[in-house]
């Protein structure tokens, strides 16, 4: 359903993505995991062409086989309002602060010609589906009257209302407390399974990605360095960067033991070496790693794995 075909992105001449290739099947959940500057957000934003000014892309993003760069304004609007829904980190940046929750939820439906009574009925049902009780009262409330967790559920309800086939979620629970995160993630899983909606889920938390997604794509410096089934995260990780991420979490070693860290700082597509993007920080890097770009073999891009 969704296909990234060697997607390259430059913003004002600065490389951001160095060739992203990935497919998302209908109903599938794919997690994009990586540190800051790895290009996760830009990859997802390119689907709905929400890229910053001065962006130039090469390669293609196809939704249902259609290159999104070929869509005209009407086609793009249609895709954004019906086929693809978005959930961001900060719900308060998304919901109009001076209008009611009801206005926010019914706006798109009304725009699509649904009558006021029917739109309100659907909005109330959507709220109860994401675990918000007392829906009628909530519809009359304004964003400041709701907690962050509750408001994020409202945003998810809105995302589901138009019956999308793909949800793009960019760190949707990062700003929430862990207990609230669990609820929001449980609701997202439940609703996604019930409706067979595909999901691209951006997070920096590998375990969270594994709990939400079918497959996990690990990004570094504008490239996908590894794709693996969520269930194989711990036993199946092959790329040195994925292993480094897993090893550097405080839970990876016994309390008191030293964390196995990777030297240096996360790089971007601009600062990464021309060969393997991770070569500067990789404990196993050899000369060719810095010079020759490894080929993605379907699961990982690493010279050292080719040899075996």
């Amino acid at each position: 359903m969704l296909q990234f075909d060697d997607l390259r992105l430059r913003v004002g001449g600065t490389p951001i993505l160095r060739g992203v290739t990935l497919e998302v099947a209908a109903g599938e959940a794919v997690g994009l995991v990586g540190e800051s500057g790895s290009g996760k957000s830009m990859t997802v934003k390119s689907v709905v062409r929400l890229l910053p000014p001065g962006s130039r892309t090469e390669g293609a993003v196809r939704f249902d086989g259609v290159d999104v760069s070929s869509l005209d304004a009407a086609g793009l609007r249609r895709m954004r309002s019906r086929d693809v829904a978005m959930v961001f980190q900060d719900p308060r940046a998304v919901v109009n602060p001076v209008r009611t929750i009801g206005d926010f939820l019914t706006e798109v439906l009304r725009d699509q010609g649904v009558g006021r009574t029917e739109a309100t009925r659907r909005a109330a049902r959507a709220l109860s589906e994401v675990g918000i009780g007392d829906a009628v009262r909530r519809l009359h409330q304004r964003p400041y009257e709701l907690s962050g967790g509750l408001l994020q559920r409202v945003v998810i309800a809105a995302a589901l209302l138009t019956g999308p086939r793909l949800i793009l979620a960019d760190e949707p629970t990062t700003a929430l407390d862990v207990t609230t995160q669990e609820e929001v993630v449980a609701i997202l899983n439940e609703q996604r399974a019930a409706r067979q909606v595909a999901l691209m889920f951006i997070t920096h938390d590998l375990e969270l990605a594994a709990a939400v997604c079918d497959r996990i794509a690990v990004m570094y410096a504008g490239e996908i360095v590894e794709v693996l089934p969520a269930a194989a995260l711990h036993a199946g990780a092959r790329h040195p960067y994925t292993r480094a991420l897993l090893n550097s979490r405080p839970g990876a070693v016994a309390p008191g033991e030293r964390l196995r860290t990777v030297p240096g700082v996360p790089q971007s597509a601009l600062t990464a070496p021309p060969g393997c993007v991770f070569a500067d920080r990789c404990p196993h890097a050899e000369a060719r790693c810095r010079e020759v770009r490894p080929v993605f073999d379907g699961s990982a891009a690493c010279h050292l794995l080719e040899a075996r």
Binding site: E35, S36, G131, I132, G133, S147, L150, D177, V178, T179, T180, Q181, E182, E183, V185, A186, I187, N189, E190, H204, D205, E207, L208, A210, A211, V212, L233, H234, A244, L245, S248, R249, P250, G251, V253, P255, G256, R258, L259, R260, T261, V262, V265, P266
Partner: protein, 238 residues
């Protein structure tokens, strides 16, 4: 004990943020105060460091205290070089200025970065500077308020190792304010769990997080994503 907090209470116009909280940090020890937003943990930290005044209760501190904040982008002067920043603290506390290089080594910063301004540094490097600045005064207690929360995983690991090393090298005690239980398990010996301004459970980390007794601690432990974890919807609390 380097720090003893007894029956602390803090009211902000009509809201009780901290309600009868007591805890203590051993000389050279490491205590975590964990809780979610609104639990009152940060207010406790701010009272301990004197940034906030308690409505009632006592704070007994036997030695100097320094604080490290979450956001290294806001806590450093953007016009001051790393060396300038450390020299200032050393001079103010009448410490030997030659310790600047030693401090840079202690927090794992290249000495060449002494002349750099904050804007030339990465987030992790800035947090190292903030920690070096806090340690420059040779405090007996360091209060760390979500000091690794904003960092990328690989950088967070470097900073956690640094904090373990710095404690071993200087004997400084830590009061760790955090929401991250895996960080608590890694760097703390004792933990205080706060919810809605009150302490709900306290004790050694292995016991409290390994076999939590209070319902809230259990929920907190159970909601951390981990291998084999399936998120479940709790009974709605709204």
């Amino acid at each position: 004990m380097i720090l003893e907090v007894r029956d602390l209470r803090k009211e902000f116009t009509g809201v009780v943020a901290v309600d009868g909280v007591s805890f203590a940090v051993r000389e050279g020890g490491s205590l975590a105060v964990v809780g979610e937003s609104g639990s009152g943990k940060t207010t406790c930290a701010r009272i301990v460091t004197g940034l906030e005044k308690a409505t009632s209760g006592t704070v007994e501190l036997r030695g100097s205290v320094q604080m490290v904040f979450q956001d290294p982008y806001q806590s450093l002067d953007r016009r001051q070089t790393v060396r300038g920043c450390l020299d200032e603290v050393l001079a103010h506390h009448r410490k030997d200025r030659s310790r600047t290089a030693e401090l840079l080594d202690l927090v794992g910063l290249d000495r060449a970065l002494g002349d750099a301004l904050p804007r030339h540094l990465s987030g992790g490097q800035r947090q190292r500077v903030a920690i070096a600045r806090a340690l420059a005064a040779e405090p007996r207690l360091l209060v760390l308020d979500e000091a690794v929360a904003a960092l990328d995983v690989s950088i967070q690991a470097q900073i956690l190792n640094l904090l373990v090393d710095a404690r071993a090298a200087t004997g400084v005690a830590y009061l760790f304010i955090t929401h991250d239980l895996s960080v608590v398990r890694h760097v703390c010996e004792d933990v205080v769990v706060m919810s809605r301004g009150k302490v709900v459970e306290a004790g050694p980390v292995a016991r409290v997080l390994g076999a939590p007794e209070h319902e809230y601690t259990r929920r907190l432990v159970a909601s951390v994503p981990r291998a084999g974890w399936t998120p479940t919807r709790a009974v709605s609390r709204d």
